[in-house]
Symmetry: C2
Subunit: 105 residues, 2 copies
């Protein structure tokens, strides 16, 4: 689903990743992280797609919400598991959305 | 591939889309747009993934490069075809990347 974000400005965290072949715990944790993120103050939405690489973009009200989510204890544990088990490589970009527009048929 | 972008700041154009069932011309045009974008001044890289939705993030040196790419004639024709044929819905977000970090095994 395309996230139904409010008028800019707001923040986007672009997480791009290459997976290892380890599946153990991955799908459950990914699902749990979406659920947990969506309970955090300032969460605005998330979009995710994967084939050769994965791209997950989460949207946040401001930098403080981004930082609080990064410090969340359960999320921190999941990120450690990501480094040891699930990801070969990833890149995280924190970006301020200045403009947006959309199209629907 | 994870795009090998330079130190921030730079710009990200996050294009999230839902496809129609029309395949005619889509794959060739998508490929051609990546090729064409990568020849534009200020282009820094692109990342793309699709399953339920598609997410393509292109990276640009500054807002002027983003605007020039939007005005490119061949790109404009492709976008028109996108609205009539290939996309049910899409959202475009223009965002300034302020920070990034990465991980490689």
């Amino acid at each position: 689903m395309i996230a139904n974000t409010p008028q800019p400005p707001y923040y986007a965290v672009i997480f791009t990743s290459e997976r290892t072949e380890i599946e153990q715990g991955y799908a459950e944790t990914a699902e749990r992280m979406v659920e947990l993120a969506s309970e955090q103050p300032g969460f605005l939405g998330v979009e995710s797609a994967r084939n050769d690489i994965g791209i997950t973009v989460s949207y946040w009200k401001d930098l403080e919400s981004v930082k609080n989510w990064k410090m969340n204890a359960e999320h921190t544990l999941a990120r450690e598991k990501g480094r040891t088990d699930w990801y070969k490589a990833f890149k995280v970009r924190i970006a301020k959305v200045e403009r947006d527009y959309d199209f629907t048929k």
